[in-house]
């Protein structure tokens, strides 16, 4: 009897619709209006790679130790260096990083002894060509410049 009444008065349907109507309240809207409204990225986010430079001298922090390249499971980092005869130290010449193969696991970042390599909070990595996904030292030091839309 009860189930028949439930059927006649479409109770299950109304119950379901009530949930929908409850969620219409502006307070319950959770959608993010992405390009207009930028998401808040967590501090530990592993996004675009960045090769840090010293904040004052603008010299690179990388000591060309190659540890990041060895730690990477995808072997996508290539570091070349040159020995500076005056200071008798290795100096970084080029640094390439193929983000198209990167899986942002953070192992390279963990391996770096000087905090030179860092996965930053930039997340917009799309490129028009495959070559565009291979980042050189300059790109890594400056970081990507995503388009900002204004409304």
């Amino acid at each position: 009897m009860k189930s028949l009444l439930r059927k006649i008065f479409l109770v299950d349907l109304i119950e379901g619709l009530w949930v929908t109507f409850r969620s219409q309240h502006p307070k319950n809207i959770v959608t993010e209006q992405y390009p207009a409204e930028r998401p808040r990225i967590a501090e530990r986010y592993r996004g675009a790679p960045r090769l840090n430079v010293h904040p004052e001298t603008k010299e690179t922090l990388c000591i060309a130790c190659n540890l990041c390249a060895l730690a990477c499971p995808e072997h996508l980092i290539v570091v070349t260096s040159e020995r500076n005869e005056q200071t008798r130290r290795k100096e970084l010449t080029t640094f390439t990083y193929d983000i198209s193969r990167c899986m942002f696991c953070g192992l390279c970042e963990d391996a770096c002894p000087t905090d030179a390599l860092e996965l930053s909070q930039d997340f917009e990595l799309a490129a028009f060509t495959r070559e565009g996904a291979i980042w050189d030292r300059q790109m890594l030091e400056e970081g990507p410049v995503p388009t900002r839309y204004r409304y």
Binding site: L13, V19, S23, V30, A42, Y45, R46, A71, M103
Partner: protein, 370 residues
């Protein structure tokens, strides 16, 4: 034998997938039909095969850890936990208590996230579009916790062999507690939408029945086994990572049909919240990493370690030859083994039900194909 006329219902072979929205990825099912009735369903898989096991043999133990996240990508943390436990077993170390507690919190959150995604897509397959939006809303909260904890949302690489890489972030306990508090009423909300819904019930009850005997014969585990009435959960049967400390129940049902599996998964989410609430209350202080050294070199030997992943028993069988790379790494994926029972489950049902049955197994093709 009289000659067949066009009035006879001939056997029809229908190809479903690999690009079909309700095969959850790239599963191809070859259906043999007699009118609307299914006579047999053969799965053609492998479209997403990436050779995870071979990759494992060519990477060091640490390097391989991020790859396991890519098998069952909606439950990446569970995969990582299984892998870390397997290597730890080979090494003979155990993660410190603090790491274990954090691992439990994150894996249980992951179980909720996985079940939520399953619920949303399964309901979508059946025709209920609304729940998808709600489950995504809650899943987002979980992913935000992951993002804050380890910096990635889906393929997290959250755990390391021997413990954790990242310390608990400030306010994690608060976030997790807030999520638990908010989440339970939300589960009631899903139930309001679905459990008593007439269409939902008509489409699910007595569809895709797999009884306990068949489950065991086919090696089916996870919610499918529990919906058939077998009270078996590796977290209880062989506790790992400190699950013996938490008080929770294993939800079971009797019929083993699609509706029961839905109820079991809903209940499991509630139990997961219970575990998380207990775990987050008393995260012990202390180190987060056991002493494993920079280079991981397990002694010659082999071990099989399995955990209760959201989809069933996820096992890793690792053979070590004493070097830094696994000699053989075998993954026993729950989805792969469970999918094998599709043929059995779908025989005799209607074509429209195959969608419900594929959905109810809860497969992730990344894990089926590896």
């Amino acid at each position: 034998m009289p000659e067949a006329t066009f009035l006879d219902a001939n056997e029809l072979v229908l190809n479903m997938g690999p690009q079909h929205p309700s095969t959850h990825g790239v599963l191809r099912v070859v259906l043999k039909l007699d009118g609307e009735k299914i006579l047999g369903a053969e799965c053609v898989i492998g479209y997403l095969h990436r050779g995870v096991e071979k990759i494992g043999e060519n990477r060091t133990y640490q390097m391989f850890a991020p790859y396991v996240d890519r098998m069952d990508y909606v439950a990446a943390v569970s995969n990582a936990l299984g892998y870390c436990l397997a290597v730890e077993k080979l090494l003979g170390v155990e993660a410190p208590p603090r790491a274990q507690a954090v691992r439990v919190i994150l894996t249980e959150l992951n179980r909720i996230a996985s079940h939520l995604l399953w619920l949303g897509t399964h309901a979508l397959d059946i025709g209920a579009i609304t729940p998808l939006f709600y489950v995504m809303r809650e899943r987002e909260d979980i992913l935000n916790i992951y993002e804050k904890y380890c910096g990635a949302r889906l393929t997290t690489h959250a755990f390391r062999i021997g413990g954790l890489q990242y310390e608990v972030y400030e306010g994690m306990e608060r976030d997790v507690k807030a999520f638990c508090k908010k989440f339970l009423p939300r589960v009631d909300e899903y139930e309001e939408l679905l459990t008593e819904n007439r269409i939902w019930k008509d489409r699910l009850i007595n569809v895709g029945i797999l009884n306990a005997e068949d489950c065991k014969a086919y090696g089916v585990t996870g919610p499918l086994l529990r919906a058939a009435g077998v009270k078996w959960d590796i977290r209880k049967a062989h506790p790992y990572s400190g699950y013996e400390k938490y008080d929770f129940e294993i939800p079971t049902r009797e019929n083993g049909d699609t509706y029961d599996r839905y109820i079991v998964r809903i209940q499991e989410m509630r139990q997961s919240v219970r575990i998380i609430e207990q775990a987050v209350e008393g995260i012990p202080e202390g180190p987060i990493m056991a002493k494993v050294g920079k280079v991981i070199k397990p002694p010659v030997g082999e071990a099989y370690v399995s955990i209760e992943a959201p989809k069933g028993e996820l096992g890793y069988f690792i053979v070590s030859d004493g070097s830094t790379q696994p000699y053989r790494l075998r993954v026993r994926p729950p989805s792969f083994v469970n999918l094998q029972a599709l043929d059995k489950m779908s025989r005799g049902s209607l074509v429209a039900d195959i969608v419900a049955i594929i959905g109810t197994i809860d497969i992730v093709l990344g894990e089926v194909d590896r």
